[in-house]
């Protein structure tokens, strides 16, 4: 099962390649429009509309791709109908995160829900590896339901921190070792303590 590291490293590779292609294309174009020679033909209507079609396919196709390849997309959209193994209650107030269960012990490959409530401001809930890469996150909006369903496929110990700005104090809202996943056959090498 793909995790955030797999998706993010693919993004880094694909976007870097795209950026190099875009920069090269403009550099080549900039050079070629200053050069004489060759018959100047403008793109036909056919080429133009095919290009528009490609843009539509690429823009919307990305979402079909992630729906099928990124496991948390269908899970998130259907979370109202999926039964969770465990629900963890989390409360935010006065820039303090309080966990009903600390640490939150998560069984491997089972659906769990992180259910956060804010009693004052808008905060964020993010789970991070020991190397600070992000596993997942959600916004924590006061007086609204904030439920994040997740499934962990690797053993590890994760910290949580508020991912939304809530004034200078917000930068210190961190709980070390708040999530411990066990029972998997594989370790998350960046989260082993």
């Amino acid at each position: 099962m793909a995790d955030s590291l797999d998706v993010l490293s693919t993004l880094k590779l694909v976007y870097t390649i795209y950026a190099i292609v875009a920069i090269s294309l403009i550099a080549w174009y900039a050079y070629s429009i200053t050069q004489k020679g060759g018959e100047i033909k403008t793109a036909s209507k056919g080429i133009f509309w095919s290009y528009v079609a490609v843009l539509i396919v690429m823009g919307t196709g990305l979402h079909f791709l992630t729906f099928n390849l990124v496991p948390w997309v269908p899970m998130d959209l259907d979370r109202a109908n999926i039964k969770a193994e465990k629900t963890f209650k989390i409360t935010y107030k006065d820039h303090v995160i309080t966990l009903d269960e600390n640490p939150m012990r998560v069984p491997c490959n089972k659906y769990v829900i992180f259910d956060a409530d804010s009693e004052d401001l808008t905060y964020g809930f993010g789970i991070f590896r020991q190397n600070h890469t992000l596993v997942t996150q959600m916004q924590v909006v006061p007086n609204n339901g904030n439920d994040l369903m997740w499934k962990f496929g690797k053993n590890g110990t994760y910290y949580i921190r508020s991912t939304e700005y809530s004034g200078p104090k917000g930068a210190h809202m961190i709980i070390e070792d708040a999530v411990i996943v066990s029972g998997c056959s594989e370790d998350d090498i960046h989260s082993i303590k």
């Binding site: 955030s4 998706v7 993010l8 490293s9 993004l11 880094k12 976007y15 795209y18 950026a19 875009a22 920069i23 403009i26 174009y29 900039a30 070629s32 429009i33 200053t34 100047i40 403008t42 133009f48 290009y51 528009v52 843009l55 539509i56 690429m58 823009g59 919307t60 990305l62 979402h63 992630t66 729906f67 990124v70 948390w72 997309v73 998130d76 959209l77 004052d120 401001l121 808008t122 964020g124 190397n131 600070h132 992000l134 596993v135 996150q137 959600m138 916004q139 909006v141 006061p142 007086n143 609204n144 339901g145 904030n146 439920d147 991912t163 939304e164 700005y165 004034g167 200078p168 930068a171």
Partner: protein
């Protein structure tokens, strides 16, 4: 000629402000203030860049966050709005070939916006008011960490900016549709329909196309201006709401309940309005500016002109319906809104912006070979900026990707700064280079070498800074967060070097402009013009 003389009088005689028309002066006033505010935003950016490498001893955390709050306001309202409004208040009458509706309103616009930004900046500097992020003003209003008085001063600043914005909006539309005194009656309704793009849409279904009454750049200006006006209404309403809470809870210790306004509903409405700046101002205005620049640089008609007009209309409608891509990680937001508005409609920004890129590049190509002038260089830089930043935005507007990118440095690096600093700012520099001789009655540039250095330092610095912030974001670095243990130092040092390149680029540009027009000419811009605008323009039939 001694250096001091050159500095005072400018290169090759410099700017003779006595011969400038009121409109030239007004446009220059906007642009000069816009550039100074850009310098302030860049300076603040560099302070933050340094702080993100290692916390600076003379700035405490509270002040760091207040810099971060005013920085985008100074950049967007103080600089981008100012330069864009100045250029468009000049171009609208220029392209419509009639006097501007009101010179007083135009002067009022730069005074209110410029003054408003200053007051808002003071709220950060003096009172460390800093609850906002990326211009988003969250509710409930926090009166624990921030003083009510700081918030009130901030709101006064915002009011100034919004008044200036409303004046600009009204003036632009009035200029398009009004009939100047003594002129033959203008067809206001038809002009408005053409400006809004309704004529272009109707042309798709007509056998015989109706002639467009307004030039294409006017259509772009009009459509972007609608978004600017709507956005000003939303920000003003939010300001009033927050003022009520600040005065009630902060000053009079009342107990106004947070639950009166649902935080998620408020967030939806605010982001709806705020996105009109990102999509209305940036994408629509930029596309319109590109079209104008492409026609002026190439001397050719625009390729696929009717499609370009229709695409501008589509972009305006798209910009009204994409706000949900800011709420993809809000679990209370409905799935339907996340998928339809957040993912699907947002994808059409790739289409409309892609169409603009294609049309502009094809139009320029028709004029091949063309000289690589400053305006062309910067235009291509601006196009590249959007070619990089728009796909980055489409990627983060995806349910799978947003879960792991939201609020990271990716958003603010690869997407926001590349769009603003490379895409928008380079487009504006291109427009400045095109308009410079028109606005200054032909003042010559002091140094081409400095202009080239400005271009390369800005381009490489802008793309580089965005890239290193983006990589830090992919590795989990949050935005608006201080890391005390050097977790992302390699990326932050590299981003700092790129930021310094952009800062240097700006200093070189400013020096080049000051040396070209001279300090006397610069100050003269702010003296009243001796020429009457109405004498400069006569109706076509009377020529």
């Amino acid at each position: 000629m001694s250096y001091l003389n050159k500095l005072m009088d400018g290169h090759d005689g410099g700017l003779k402000h006595e011969g400038m028309t009121p409109m030239q002066k007004i446009a220059m006033r906007f642009v000069v203030i816009g550039l100074l505010y850009y310098g302030l935003a860049a300076l603040e950016g560099m302070i933050m860049r340094a702080y993100e490498i290692t916390p600076l001893p003379f700035i405490d955390e509270t002040h760091f966050f207040s810099i971060m709050t005013v920085h985008p306001m100074v950049g967007i309202f103080g600089s981008s709005y100012m330069i864009v409004f100045g250029a468009f208040l000049f171009l609208t009458p220029f392209l419509m070939e009639k006097p501007i509706y009101s010179l007083k309103m135009a002067n009022g616009s730069w005074m209110f916006i410029g003054g408003g930004v200053l007051i808002m900046w003071l709220a950060g500097f003096l009172f460390s008011y800093a609850p906002l992020y990326t211009l988003y003003w969250p509710l409930p209003a926090d009166t624990e960490q921030f003083t009510a008085i700081g918030g009130i001063v901030y709101i006064v600043g915002v009011v100034g900016i919004m008044i200036g914005t409303f004046l600009y909006t009204y003036n632009v539309f009035k200029t398009i549709v009004y009939t100047p005194k003594g002129w033959e009656k203008q067809p206001s309704g038809a002009l408005l329909r053409s400006a809004l793009g309704l004529t272009a849409i109707a042309n798709f279904f007509r056998k015989k196309e109706t002639k467009h009454l307004v030039p294409l750049p006017i259509a772009a200006i009009a459509r972007g201006t609608i978004d600017v006006g709507l956005n000003a209404i939303v920000i003003s309403t939010a300001g009033v709401l927050i003022l009520i809470y600040l005065v009630g809870n902060g000053l009079f210790s009342m107990d106004l309940q947070d639950t009166w306004v649902d935080a998620l509903l408020y967030k939806n409405i605010f982001w709806w309005g705020l996105d009109l700046v990102a999509d209305g101002l940036v994408l629509v205005f930029v596309a319109g500016t590109w079209y104008l620049l492409a026609m002026m640089i190439s001397g050719k008609d625009l390729y696929m002109q009717n499609v370009a007009r229709a695409a501008l209309f589509v972009e305006m409608v798209v910009s009204w319906t994409v706000w949900s891509h800011h709420l993809m990680s809000d679990q209370g937001q409905s799935n339907a809104l996340k998928v339809l508005s957040g993912e699907v409609v947002t994808a059409f920004e790739l289409v409309t912006q892609g169409i603009a890129v294609f049309i502009v590049l094809t139009t320029l190509y028709k004029a091949k070979p063309i000289k690589m002038t400053n305006e062309l260089k910067f235009l291509l830089g601006g196009i590249l900026g959007f070619m990089l930043a728009v796909p980055a935005g489409i990627i983060q507007a995806d349910l799978g990707m947003n879960r792991i990118l939201h609020n990271t440095q990716w958003i603010i690096g690869n997407h926001v700064h590349v769009a603003i600093l490379v895409g928008l700012t380079m487009t504006l520099y291109s427009a400045i280079y095109v308009l410079f001789p028109i606005l200054t009655n032909g003042v010559k540039l002091y140094s081409q070498k400095l202009a080239s250095a400005h271009f390369w330092l800005h381009l490489v610095g802008g793309i580089g800074m965005g890239a290193f912030m983006g990589m830090a974001g992919i590795d989990g670095m949050l935005r608006r967060t201080i890391y005390y243990n050097g977790e992302y130092n390699t990326y932050m040092i590299l981003a700092g070097i790129c930021g310094a390149m952009m800062m240097l680029a700006f200093i070189l540009f400013l020096y080049n402009i000051i040396m070209s027009i001279g300090l006397k000419g610069l100050l003269g811009i702010y003296q009243p013009s001796k020429i009457d605008t109405h004498d400069c323009l006569v109706q076509e039939k009377d020529k």
